[in-house]
């Protein structure tokens, strides 16, 4: 039985290898910024993942961004973090998001507000965070609202809010052995699909997925492997050194550094990563991120043999 009936859910249920792409809302109020991305990406993915003030930088809200994408014909996956809202605000936003037509929600703890002060931005490192509930508890809240029609308090709502519930998995972050157990907790709490932290080391990732497979987790939830389109050897080095849970094999960095056209090489690497991921039993799709270069994604998805997207 369908849980939310979203396109993403139908695609996965039909056994298609799913494609989702990340669409970061703009640092401003102009809807055109979202609609431009929607035009670039329409039809190339089964879900359009809208971030919720990622890295604690103020952007257009994920609900508004998701609604704009939806109006433009791209089914959104709304992200929701626990950093900025308590359970009252989270549930209220879930009701509102459902009313606006959202059917997918990805639950995250959220980057700490200190992350917002980096590069040229001052951010809001002095902000008060919330973290009333954590990402796993948020997943449980969505599940109860959907399956029992009740709020976290147990109070009933006028009708259930069927969301297809997503969670994040960072398989290669320490403590590595615990990561698979935490994934199991997320699935037990109610996660239907799993989006992973960016993977560059497909061998190590395959081992982690095999372990999830052995625990029966890959049949309980659909794992979408996260892939970031690399732009340069410097970017790969930076991520390897600074982004927890992102492991970039040295060979890949060298290959990138040796390439004449690093951007082009990055596209090629992305296509190869997608193909490698498709061969891992238990991987049900790919989540692509081309941070602020979304226009490159259609060609990458085409080259990976994933176009046209199935009609479901």
């Amino acid at each position: 039985m369908m849980k939310a009936g979203s396109k993403l859910e139908k695609t996965l249920r039909a056994g298609h290898f799913a494609v989702t792409v990340e669409v970061g809302p703009p640092r401003g109020p102009n809807p055109e910024d979202v609609l431009r991305k929607a035009q670039q990406l329409k039809g190339v993915a089964d879900g359009y993942n809208v971030t919720d003030n990622q890295t604690a930088v103020v952007r257009m809200s994920s609900i508004a961004g998701a609604r704009l994408l939806q109006e433009a014909g791209c089914e959104p996956i709304m992200q929701m973090t626990c950093r900025d809202r308590n359970r009252i605000a989270l549930q209220s936003d879930l009701l509102g998001a459902w009313a606006l037509g959202m059917r997918n929600c990805l639950c995250l703890s959220g980057d700490h507000q200190k992350a917002g002060a980096s590069g040229k931005l001052k951010g809001h490192p002095g902000a008060k965070n919330v973290f009333d509930v954590d990402s796993i508890q948020l997943i449980s809240i969505l599940k109860e609202m959907r399956d029992a029609g009740v709020l976290e308090s147990g109070d009933p709502i006028s009708q259930p809010t069927p969301f297809f519930i997503g969670a994040v998995w960072t398989p290669l972050a320490p403590p590595e052995e615990f990561r698979i157990l935490r994934l199991a907790k997320k699935i037990e709490a109610g996660a239907d699909f799993i989006q992973t932290q960016a993977v560059f080391d497909m061998k190590r990732f395959a081992t982690a997925v095999a372990s999830a497979h052995d625990k029966g987790l890959t049949t309980k939830a659909s794992i979408l492997v996260g892939i970031i389109v690399p732009k340069s050897a410097k970017m790969l080095e930076y991520m390897n050194a600074n982004v927890p849970g992102v492991e970039v094999p040295e060979g890949l960095i060298k290959r990138m550094a040796a390439a004449k056209d690093q951007r082009q090489e990055g596209y090629q690497i992305t296509v190869e990563l997608i193909q490698a991921a498709r061969n891992i039993p238990g991987v049900k799709g790919v989540h692509l991120q081309a941070i602020e270069s979304e226009e490159v994604l259609p060609e990458i998805i085409r080259s990976a043999g994933l176009l046209p997207r199935p009609q479901v």
Partner: protein, 223 residues
């Protein structure tokens, strides 16, 4: 203990401009342990303040006194013999002590000389680390003696976020341990990892400040 840190000297100087007789009041308990507001710090700060204000063209007379505990009325009372001589008090006690002094001497200007920052332990000489958040719903029995409320940057209940660094450190600061990494290591060493597999429900924050200013009544101790 409750830990505190000196307010920046320029901030204190700005506050004290216009006063002529100031009492710098220390507390010999927590803030002395964390080297922010004990007798030694009081006697260090007093001449610094005097000098800094003099540089700004303000002459003030600074008296000093450190009592055992500014958070107990009987000790706060010891300041009464000094207060007729001053027009302001800078308290180096935690926020509790500062308020007790302000309450006892309502006619005087009472200023904080420190910022109260955490409930912490002196881990090593010169290093204090937060240990407790006074959350009112203690889970230490389930987390192997490590507090995820005070020691996780996101106060997570169900394990580490994706931000644990390679050396088991927190994503927000490479000098801060990821407490969930520590909890997991301890659970593994004790052979009790299964204790961490239960999905923990949202916490009840209402027994702390989130439930309104805390007020504890013990009828058996009431007069």
């Amino acid at each position: 203990m409750i830990i505190a840190e000196w307010k920046p000297l320029p901030e204190l100087v700005e506050i004290l401009k216009g006063h002529t007789n100031v009492l710098v009041a220390g507390c010999a308990t927590c803030v002395a342990e964390c080297a922010a507001g004990g007798e030694r710090e009081v006697e260090t700060l007093a001449p610094l303040l005097k000098m800094a204000l003099k540089n700004e063209g303000c002459t003030i007379n600074v008296l000093t006194r450190t009592v055992e505990r500014q958070c107990e009325w009987e000790f706060v009372e010891e300041l009464a013999e000094m207060t007729p001589k001053v027009d302001a008090i800078v308290s180096l006690a935690c926020g509790i002590g500062i308020q007790a002094v302000a309450e006892r001497f309502p006619d005087l200007a009472v200023y904080p000389g420190v910022n109260t920052t955490a409930l912490a332990i002196r881990q090593e000489p010169g290093l204090w680390i937060a240990r407790c958040a006074a959350c009112g719903d203690c889970v230490l029995g389930e987390t192997f003696g490590f507090c995820p409320v005070a020691r996780c940057a996101k106060s997570l209940s169900n394990g580490p976020c994706g931000g644990t660094r390679k050396e088991g450190k927190c994503e927000i600061d490479e000098n801060i341990d990821c407490v969930w990494f520590q909890i997991y290591e301890r659970a593994k060493a004790r052979g009790k990892v299964e204790q961490l597999l239960k999905v923990r429900k949202p916490r009840n924050w209402s027994n702390s400040g989130h439930g309104g200013p805390k007020r504890v009544v013990r009828e058996d101790l009431r007069p």
